[in-house]
């Protein structure tokens, strides 16, 4: 990779997610050379992917060009690259576009869907971690309804209109709620020829409550909201397999369905070279100390989902969410500048700003440190916070317009099959 060395130390950041971007911004206008590598040329606002899948927002309004984030920073270089391996001994990253030496390395590669080793589930189910995946899901949902119109086989038609979401975390809950609103508000008008009352939305959770990380109140209320919307919430049930037709579970319960959305877990997006060591946790994350240094290294850091920082409150590591990522990115920026000046770094302290999830129109749950509330006010808070954290004025405006429009009109206009999913397979 032809990036010229300067007199400044070179910091390579792998990943332009919440953590990587927060760090990059902190390092701007400093006496360091920063090389940011990402396999996409955009930052992707993952918390709103479910709205892309369900036609509420266009994909481009939750993506932001990484080059634009960095455009005013001198000494910054972005490269569109897949990092294949980290050669920690030789301070080199090995990528599909060549190798590059670093003085400091920050792994901010995020997370990916965890299928817990079940290859058949991975093959047949849909994920929702990236924009292309979310667009594939959008196409599939719409193609299923088009296909349901065509078959006279009742069994097949029901399977096409049966949606199974595995995992009752925020992603699963938010998707289930959005699908339920489509069932109610859009399908009867769009498909007058189809008995859309037969549409089933199922959410399967292995433990005894949904939104496990949140308060009991939030969890209970979210379940009430979902049931009011007509979603079937199945608890204490573990999915054992999906062969493309039938979901089997650890009980007698089975689901005949054409669509399984796997939102049952994530794991760190490990990179070869740091993956065979003794500092990997069960969820494929890199153990880091309070300065986000990867165990055994002084010049290799990890931040965000890929980093597992154990604290008293979080014995399994900080949660894999936007807030720890942003906070770690910012603080690591400050710490690296300290380190370069030979000054001591500051321990990271996670400020829990709360957790929230939206279920549908006027229905959300918010757990702040001191206040926990649910319903319409929570829903406004949820929207405000998500608009605030979106990058870019244009994106905020477009998302805001869409939300107002969708709210007033009970609509979701991006129900477009731009790239068919089934037909190409």
């Amino acid at each position: 990779m032809n990036i010229p060395r300067t007199s400044f130390p070179r910091i390579i950041i792998i990943g332009g997610g919440f953590a990587g971007i927060a760090l990059a911004k902190k390092l701007s206008k400093q006496e360091v050379q920063v090389v940011l590598l990402d396999k996409n040329n955009y930052h992707n606002f993952q918390p709103l992917l479910y709205q892309v899948s369900t036609g509420g927002l266009e994909p481009d309004s939750i993506a932001y060009p990484i080059r634009k984030v960095l455009k005013d920073f001198p000494n910054f270089h972005f490269r569109l690259a897949n990092v294949d391996e980290i050669d920690a001994k030789n301070n080199t990253v090995i990528t599909n576009i060549g190798n590059l030496k670093f003085d400091y390395l920050v792994v901010a590669s995020g997370s990916k869907t965890n299928y817990f080793g079940n290859a058949e589930v991975e093959k047949h189910s849909m994920a929702m971690k990236t924009i292309p995946q979310s667009l594939n899901l959008r196409s599939l949902i719409l193609e299923n309804f088009e296909d349901a119109l065509l078959t006279s086989n009742l069994h097949e038609r029901n399977a096409l209109m049966n949606f199974v979401i595995v995992g009752g975390g925020p992603t699963g809950v938010e998707l289930a709620g959005a699908l339920a609103e489509i069932k109610k508000g859009i399908l009867p008008k769009d498909y007058p020829d189809l008995d859309t009352r037969s549409v089933q939305i199922n959410i399967i959770q292995s433990s005894d409550c949904i939104l496990k990380g949140m308060s009991d109140k939030a969890s209970q209320k979210a379940e009430d909201f979902l049931e009011k919307l007509g979603v079937n919430v199945w608890k204490n049930i573990r999915v054992t397999n999906y062969d493309g037709k039938t979901v089997t579970t650890n009980t007698d319960l089975i689901f005949e369905t054409a669509t399984v959305i796997w939102a049952a877990g994530v794991k760190g997006a490990l990179i070869k070279g740091l993956d065979a060591a003794d500092f990997i946790t069960r969820s494929n994350r890199l153990l880091v100390n309070e300065f986000n240094q990867v165990k055994d290294y002084n010049h290799i850091f990890a931040i965000g989902d890929i980093a597992c920082m154990v604290t008293n409150d979080f014995p399994d590591g900080l949660p894999m969410m936007a807030q720890p990522a942003i906070q770690q990115g910012k603080q690591l920026g400050d710490n690296m500048l300290q380190l370069l000046e030979g000054k001591p770094m500051k321990s990271f302290v996670y400020k829990d700003k709360g957790v929230m999830a939206t279920i549908g129109r006027n229905k959300a749950v918010v757990d702040l440190k001191r206040f926990k509330f649910q319903g319409i006010f929570a829903w406004y808070v949820w929207m405000f916070v998500h608009l605030f954290f979106l990058i870019g004025f244009r994106n905020r405006m477009v998302v805001f317009i869409n939300w107002v429009y969708n709210y007033v009109r009970f609509d979701r206009e991006a129900r477009l099959i731009i790239r068919p999913f089934k037909r190409k397979n």
Copy 2:
């Protein structure tokens, strides 16, 4: 196809473009059963595709769900289908989802890119007639700049930064102008490592002027605008081939380029069954009479690009543009109702509402019947007219916001490689 027969006559419309949608709206709430078939579930506002390719607009804001257009109309059925053949003898359309009988058939299948039989050009060049094609072009343009950064081979780098647009009609001119503005306003900031002054934008026109259908004044002014923006306008040159690396012409001129956009012509999207007859024109259009009846048929009609209606002013048929399509769709709606009541149909008279093209910021050319003007006022008119003809309030709002933002900030934020084009090949 399981669409039940009613006592109403069945009209099948093939295609949900400008013509098909205008017709469908006219037939709403009438005593007819209408079946609209399209291979996409959305109507696509083709005149703005070049803004999708150049990151100025998101694809979803120029697409509109066909089911939503028809949602309040009783006796309407939409099916997502490819029509493979028309069996005119048996009044049947043959599609990938089964056959369907009709009483009346309206072919509104539009047009497709015309490569004039050159398979190599078709294989290696990019087209811009559909949203996926426009997104592919957007990805390719951005991938080329990313790749230009990686190569130390100057020849290769120049080819990656050399854009050749074949065809000086509105599509070619508008795309060239947009690329020129990207070169000027965005590339230097996004790619500080790259000498973006080497970016070349070429437009090749086989005749002696661009925007051939417009007035001399418009054509000349458009050329001035393009040259002011740094676009190389090559006239009286015909492209003979492109092998993926080199564009050859009927002169000594050659272009080494990684990107050819073929905007040199369109032809009717003919459907088998009506394609072997003597009423096909040189540009693959169906000859129709003044009632849009396909020659030799009383119950088969064609409207829009696929229809060739010869008039005194247009001896080669009405132009393949939105206006004739919309006007024919509307009038055919009225005429079909007349026909069903046994009353005489009215001859179609094309109302020429003018032609316009935009070249860039504050730069457009407008030819109305009585007035011809160019420059900033033309540009405002162009924007107003395009907003007006976009379907859907939300689309209009989102496009408007984007245009204001792009204008104020000299920006185009949808420069996203959502689905890479080169890497997947």
